[in-house]
Symmetry: C2
Amino acid sequence: MTETNYSMLCDFYELTMSNGYFKNGFYKKTVYFDLFFRKVPDNGGFAIAAGLEQVIDYIKNLHFSETDIEYLREKGIFDEEFLKYLSNFKFTGDIYAIPEGTPIFPNEPIITVKAPAIEAQLIETFLLLTINHQTLIATKANRIVRAAQGRTVLEFGSRRAQGATGAVDGARAAYIGGCAGTACTLTDALYGVPAGGTMAHSWIQMFDNEYTAFRTYCELYPENPTLLVDTYNTLKSGVPNAIRVFKEVLVPKGINKFAIRLDSGDISYLSKKARKMLDEAGLENCKIVASNSLDEYLIRDLMMQGAQVDVFGVGERLITSSSSPVFGGVYKLVAVEEPTSGEIIPKIKVSENTTKITNPHFKKLYRYYDNESGKALADELCVYDEVIDFSKPHTIFDQNATWKAKTLTDFTAKELLVPIFKDGECVYESPKIEDIAKYCKDQIGLLWDEVKRFENPHNYYVDLSKKLWDIKNILLNIYQS
Amino acid sequence: MTETNYSMLCDFYELTMSNGYFKNGFYKKTVYFDLFFRKVPDNGGFAIAAGLEQVIDYIKNLHFSETDIEYLREKGIFDEEFLKYLSNFKFTGDIYAIPEGTPIFPNEPIITVKAPAIEAQLIETFLLLTINHQTLIATKANRIVRAAQGRTVLEFGSRRAQGATGAVDGARAAYIGGCAGTACTLTDALYGVPAGGTMAHSWIQMFDNEYTAFRTYCELYPENPTLLVDTYNTLKSGVPNAIRVFKEVLVPKGINKFAIRLDSGDISYLSKKARKMLDEAGLENCKIVASNSLDEYLIRDLMMQGAQVDVFGVGERLITSSSSPVFGGVYKLVAVEEPTSGEIIPKIKVSENTTKITNPHFKKLYRYYDNESGKALADELCVYDEVIDFSKPHTIFDQNATWKAKTLTDFTAKELLVPIFKDGECVYESPKIEDIAKYCKDQIGLLWDEVKRFENPHNYYVDLSKKLWDIKNILLNIYQS
């Protein structure tokens, strides 16, 4: 539809640093950055990776226009040679990433970038904001979908999103996380996420009365219409008028797919009353859609109370992940290549806050599945060149309590980080959006229920290999002294 | 830089309703919609209007491309005549709005749209999401700026924003709300919000040691560099190295503008210790920048504890308004014109929840200022054609407690809704961004301190004129019976 060049969507310091790397020759250095997060939103047990397709589009389109260069020149702090370099800028590095829809855990790289210093630095902000945003919404959507226990969940939140991308890409992420569709037309047009919707209160207000508004709508759209029944009085006016119109207009034509939507009041009470009225009128097939400031907590309660809701339309609390609206992904230098020898030197960022200490080095990430149950057992971070013989029993250990070891025997290892760019060329084809959503659903089926609990979930293990653990400790000891 | 066509960023029901209005002739009806909100985020006393400039750009660019039409045709539910109508679509109506930077209150129209039914309906989602998003961030930024009591506040949150627009337009809104600048380069390039920034931890990690990293930076950017001092150990390594470099590289050149940045640990403790070390080294001019999950509450506490911070860099909690991440603007039909007589018929949306009942009719909005103190006294909503003689004393009353009346004598009335579009033509020129920010600051200076309190602020009055109040009650009585 439209292609926006977001090359200038970077933090200004990425440009000042890059200019510095250019002048002192560091720009020839190959560096390794990991994008990872430290804490699951809503204190959940896992997140859902999303946003990679938009990162790929961004990397492919990376360039600085003459207008961009002129803007930078006017700042008066950038070297002309650097600006010339930028005007011919393209990404030439390698990118590895965990595919969209994969359950992910704290401290594992979602993306690893290997590139000359300036290239790796300039893409920091866009990568972070895109992965942070979509992963946040996919994760929230998945919580809501799980709360709905198989009932359909639709994304309705565009109008309360934090900006246009928040709405459009947010609806994409929500679909990856398990929503069946969206109200956002542009998300359908751009990404193929099914969009749907019927009427606002204004439709009903435009007519002389609710009955005429409903009747006109069903005559126009006899295929699966949803009538909004709360404009005047849900149980006294809305539901009776809907029943009358369904029976007058649709039932005689043999149509029995239609629905009502409750958008205010107590959903538990109103849905049960409405269900009874519909059933008594012989409209057992009529579905009930509910939408009113819903999230996973309210849906869980509604389900416990036996609310008669077939479809949940979820708005602002999904599209902003309002109870936990920040996904705290970070982008940290983990290694630098010696220009002459090509040796990869691991780097660490220490911190007084131990949870902020990074896992150094260029790494691989394995997920181990139990062959008997099929369930995911643990993830393990290894140094990039480690070779593990997975035909033999494999012992993993907790990095925070090294005496807690576990030997895996009948298991399958899967490498999670896959090549996305190689020497600047994209070597990955994003799956279709419905395949990403299906993959996500399947992968979540491989997590133990204990990891999926909303409150106080089981801590899934992300371990370090012995080799990586040793390297990390050596580096920590250097900075301690 | 780039122009994105967001015409398809609408809720799908806006298209199904529009197709219906087209088929039944309603599309010729002129309708009036108000965009307003019901509750100030963070339980504050007021919000700051923002986002109008992006709404104007959107309205000017409104059109459906052949690709859009083809997408809609494939849905199989839209009339060919309607699709032909859409392919020639442009906005032909009137829009009134409160200028950006104005303090606004619940239940007053921020935007009023007068247009043929389809035009008014199709722009609903984009108007809502743009005003909701930017107003949310401008409001949050203003709270943070007020907490900082005159210290500089910078917006640093792009990487944690909810999508690209969240970052770029969010930084624009933050500037309107009082931030002095942003880290987001694109916001500067597009909107002229000053962008700045110096280095990330990765800069320091790239060098053999912190001293060399600092020294290289100051040699490269001697004009007002900010050195990040927490990569290894703030007080033992970062601050001493910064002092050494400032004294070796900058002071001999007569440069005395430079700063250090604290990005982790306890800001109160570290800033006082660092201040002492800097002062003892004779660097009283060195500023201290702090950035670490800050918001208005933490900044207020830091100020109370005497933290020695000159500049606050605020990230995720500002750019997502994380403690209150939803601005609940709604878009409601308030009147319909009789096609033949041209009479404007007021419309109301009732609800069991009394706070959700709308103020009907096409309205004007006045703000009354006390001539003696200059302060804003109250706002009053009037019917569009009411004529009030402001040279005489004017009595306003509380709509929820009609016996609470107040007669204004020495006052000035200002109409807040100004014409933006007239018959589809833009008749408004957006002020420069720095003028919007200045206007905002001035207008907030005209609010009583009681309205500006973070907790439990005074409820600023938004009253209805007697004429409007009567019309509302007549309509309510019709729907009650």
